[in-house]
Amino acid sequence: MSTTEHQSDPHVEPHAADVAHDGHADGEFAHKPDSYYVKIALILAVITALETSTYWIDFGAFFLPTLLILMAIKFVMVASLFMHLKFDSKIFSWMFYSGLLLAIGVYVAFLATFRFFAPT
């Protein structure tokens, strides 16, 4: 239950931070008005609607790239804005995205070695 764990011993003064970080853990984003988040949610809702529309409307060759791009946009929006990565320390972005990019790199390479994704 890491959520309730405390730092046991943060005896250290903040010192010249050697890892780049901008902004503080709390601060700026905390003061974003609720309407800001509602707006983002609206955009997300629209994108989702667009995505789902591919079920009814044929986008032809654009289908796959469009879906993937929309997915990536949604992902990044939630991560940057709702999860505050954009406002928070770069270290967090770096930790999360290194996991994500590693996962993408490794698993895409792995699927590629099968040459086909799903033979039917």
Partner: protein, 207 residues
């Protein structure tokens, strides 16, 4: 009741969530959560890849194209997406120390999450009735494994949200209240972004 007098020599040696006392100035808890989420990327990546490899391996009449109910899943995906909004509002309320609204938004988030899980349970049962058991085909096993893992994550999130509300009501969140809400929020949003990927790769892109 003994009162602790802060030590004045600059060594803050007991620290309750003193986010600024760390070498990077960042909170331990939050960093731990982000690391954990980075790690989770490889977990879900593995499950998604397994699904991608096997999604075409099924009897002709029991594949993704026959089974999925896109309109239904779209609605439940939308609900999960909106729970991210209510979650961020809870975090925002918590950071303004507004307990009442924090609890309200947390509760709504939990309810939306529960709706999503309910939808998933419904989806699973209807698939099952159509003949798609966990062991029916490679497609079904990898589908249920992937979405099941996600469902378990959501469920754990719901438990955390409700626990948060419960503890919050008794004024018992240890440490910094806002941060705990934020941590649960990060987890919750992560579960949501994973679904964003699953929804696109699994449901929308036909095999």
């Amino acid at each position: 009741m003994a009162v602790h007098t802060p030590v004045t020599d600059g060594h803050d040696d007991h620290g309750h969530g003193a986010a600024h006392a760390t070498s990077t100035g960042l909170s331990n808890n939050k960093m731990a959560m982000w690391l954990f989420l980075g790690s989770e990327c490889l977990l879900f990546g593995g499950l998604i890849s397994t699904y991608m490899l096997y999604r075409g391996r099924h009897p002709a009449d029991l594949g993704p194209d026959q089974i999925y109910d896109i309109p239904f899943t779209s609605v439940s995906s939308f609900i999960l997406l909106m729970s991210s909004l209510t979650m961020v509002l809870a975090v925002s309320a918590a950071s303004m120390k507004d307990d009442r609204r924090t609890n309200l938004w947390l509760t709504i988030t939990a309810l939306l999450g529960a709706t999503f899980v309910g939808g998933q349970v419904y989806e699973f049962t209807s698939f099952y009735r159509e003949g798609l058991g966990f062991t029916s085909s490679l497609f079904s096993s990898s589908f249920y494994t992937l979405t099941g893992f996600h469902g378990v994550h959501v469920t754990v999130g719901i438990i955390m949200l409700m626990a948060l509300v419960g503890i919050n009501k008794r004024g018992r969140i240890p440490g910094q209240k806002a941060e705990v809400v934020e941590l649960v929020g990060l987890y919750w949003h992560f579960v949501d972004v994973v679904w964003i990927i699953i929804f696109t790769l699994v449901y929308l892109i036909p095999s």
